[in-house]
């Protein structure tokens, strides 16, 4: 069987475990594929490089990776490609010359839009909102925050005021404290938008503990399994996430297409992603899978069983 390696930012993260589940689904479908699910102990580029070196030594056919650093992985991935290994990045991208294609879970513009509309759904037309991000360096976080700012600049959202961006470093305690800090420094805050699964759960917990349920809402990107409780408590009205299972599934399909030579990595090329459909590569060899899916009280319980 062809070995396809799924390299994630770090292991022990529900999101990537779900992606792994999708990858296994794809492998079952594609028959002669074996998935290696791996990642470093800490979410660093250096750790991923060590992992990739061992994958190269194993002669895997393809590497599907969510990068901790878009640039740092380029040299080692180039080495991999020079030894005939196909490289597809997903979720968090690798610079263009370090991979054959990138499969974004969704387009950044769509996510930015989604985050703002969810905030508006929660608090209404006017109010102060704040962003609780992961680390200050997280690429995708910063792009999404940038997109949000673009959307907020539109007249339709002029009532919403982004008062602060704070960083919880994807640590529960720090995120929690940052959320509390927001309550104090911005007494009129209406919503916290956290485009990170750790942050959104911690912020929801803080809202609950501060007994601010109903006055203040948390929204953002989160996993149904982690958020179900908070939706029930009322701290969270809605949140969104792309479907990580589908993302893992699609990435493996894309990688397989490269392994079998069905895809070459040219702009405009169409790549089939099995049951998810087909995507088209843009000039940077990037493609977006789908727009994020919104979860609320009506459907969260159902999805919480999956991821």
């Amino acid at each position: 069987a062809d070995k396809i390696a799924l390299v994630v930012k770090s292991l022990g993260n529900g999101f990537f475990d779900a992606a792994h589940q999708g990858a296994q689904e794809a492998a079952k479908e594609l028959k002669d594929v074996e998935i290696i699910y791996t990642g470093p102990a800490k979410a660093t580029a250096e750790g991923q490089i060590e992992v990739i070196n061992t994958l190269i030594a194993q002669n895997v056919k393809a590497i599907v990776i969510s990068a901790n650093d878009p640039d740092a992985l380029v040299p080692v991935l180039k080495k991999a490609m020079s030894r005939g290994i196909k490289v597809v990045s997903f979720d968090s991208s690798v610079r263009k010359d370090g991979r054959q294609m990138h499969l974004a879970p969704s387009s950044n513009a769509l996510i930015g839009q989604k985050l703002v509309t969810m905030a508006q759904d929660a608090v209404g037309k006017t109010g102060e909102i704040a962003v609780l991000s992961a680390t200050a360096q997280a690429t995708n976080q910063n792009i999404w925050i940038g997109e949000m700012k673009k959307v907020l600049a539109q007249p339709a959202y002029s009532g919403l005021k982004l008062v602060s961006v704070v960083y919880g470093d994807d640590q529960t305690d720090k995120s929690y404290r940052e959320a509390q800090g927001l309550f104090k420094s911005h007494p009129n805050l209406k919503a916290i938008v956290a485009p990170t699964t750790v942050g959104v759960a911690a912020a929801a917990k803080a809202v609950q503990d501060e007994k601010k349920v109903g006055q203040m809402f948390v929204t953002g990107l989160g996993l149904p399994s982690e958020m179900a409780g908070h939706v029930k408590s009322g701290a969270v009205k809605n949140f969104a996430i792309w479907n990580p299972i589908d993302l893992g599934y699609s990435s493996v399909h894309a990688a397989y297409a490269f392994v079998k030579g069905k895809a070459k990595g040219q702009a405009g090329e169409k790549i089939s992603l099995g049951r998810v459909g087909t995507v088209t590569l843009d000039k940077d060899n990037e493609a977006a899978m789908a727009e994020p899916f919104t979860y609320d009280g009506s459907n969260v319980e159902k999805f919480a069983k999956f991821f």
Partner: protein, 336 residues
């Protein structure tokens, strides 16, 4: 102090066991490419581990060493952005490493503070400064020569076809030889042992203890800068979290190499062997697709196990050692 004591023999045995055992069990583990790749695992860490080894032998420790790497890399990147060429970039990196090391050394010698506390503080400070300067940005677009240094092979450098030994490995070998000569064959090495074993007596013997401590911290800063240059070259980008957690890996290598954490004992050969052992062992585990966190766990267990096994048989070793009157190591050092 003998360069090849019992512990080094144990390490040689373990290294052989890894190469023979895993070489048989894993396809391609002994292929030239895999061997060459596996050295990237260790080359930069060896540089900081060597500097750390000397510090630990002298009874000190530098937990900020990886943070210095981040700051040095940042300085180099900033120099590049300011239009500096290769000499300017290297000077910026080394200068920063030396400055950081000097600050550590100054705090330790001038204020007579325990280095473990000082460097926990400077660890936060240096990484924090890198974060202040870079924020959410990264510095990229490093020139080709730097990338070659980090990723190239000696074959590329010397024009020999098929010589796939990475340049970084070559640098490591040179550093090991240099440190080995310094520590085992020079007067300075002897004095460093003396400082670690009994700083008070060393001072009474006319050794400028604080000057040596200062030099060792500065040396650690320089090695961190060198490692940072290589690592930056290898990955082509600078971020505030560069090499995060490497300080503990360096300490692990040093201890596994048989350097006594209380100072006064240890060998460079041991550090080299420990570097190779850890590098090859984690590479082999990686090829078995053991996940990173479990690998860290195995390495932790290896560290404890390696220390425990030789003592397993000595029942009551603990009491015996306490009974031997010994000079008050660290306490005396602080009092001096």
């Amino acid at each position: 102090m003998k360069a090849f004591a019992t512990w080094e023999r144990v390490l040689v045995g373990l290294v052989l066991a890894v190469y023979l055992g895993f070489g048989n069990a894993i396809d391609g583990f002994l292929s030239p490419y895999a061997l060459a790749d596996s050295t990237t695992n260790m080359s930069e860490k060896a540089l900081i581990a060597l500097a750390m080894a000397l510090l630990v032998i002298a009874g000190e420790i530098d937990l900020s060493i990886a943070a210095i790497m981040a700051l040095s890399s940042l300085a180099m990147g900033t120099a590049m952005q300011a239009g500096a060429g290769a000499p300017g970039m290297l000077a910026a990196a080394l200068g920063t490493g030396i400055a950081c090391g000097a600050l550590n050394g100054w705090l330790v010698t001038r204020w007579q503070l325990p280095s473990i506390v000082v460097t926990i503080g400077t660890l936060s400070l240096y990484r924090g400064l890198a974060q202040v300067a870079l924020g959410d940005q990264a510095i990229t677009g490093y020139p080709e020569w730097l990338s070659t240094w980090g990723n190239g092979t000696l074959g590329d450098l010397l024009g020999i076809e098929g010589m796939i030994v990475p340049i970084e490995f070559g640098v490591m070998v040179i550093a090991v030889i240099g440190y080995g000569l310094l520590q085992h064959r020079s007067v300075h090495g002897r004095r460093i042992y003396a400082i670690g074993a009994n700083p008070v007596a060393a001072r009474f013997s006319g050794i400028a203890v604080d000057r040596y401590r200062m030099a060792l911290f500065i040396g650690a800063g320089m090695m961190a800068a060198l490692a940072a240059v290589q690592l930056t070259g290898r990955i082509g980008s600078t971020r505030p979290n560069l090499a995060s957690g490497w300080e503990l890996e360096a300490v692990t290598i040093v201890i596994l190499g048989g350097v006594a954490i209380e100072g006064g004992r240890g060998s460079i050969i041991g550090v080299l062997l420990a570097t190779i052992l850890l590098g090859s062992f984690t590479f082999a585990l990686g090829m078995l697709n053991v996940s990173g966190i479990v690998m860290a766990m195995v390495v932790g267990a290896l560290l404890v196990g390696a220390m425990v096994l030789p003592r397993w048989a000595q029942y009551g070793a603990w009491l015996r050692a306490l009974r031997r009157p010994k000079s008050t190591g660290t306490a005396a050092g602080n009092a001096a």
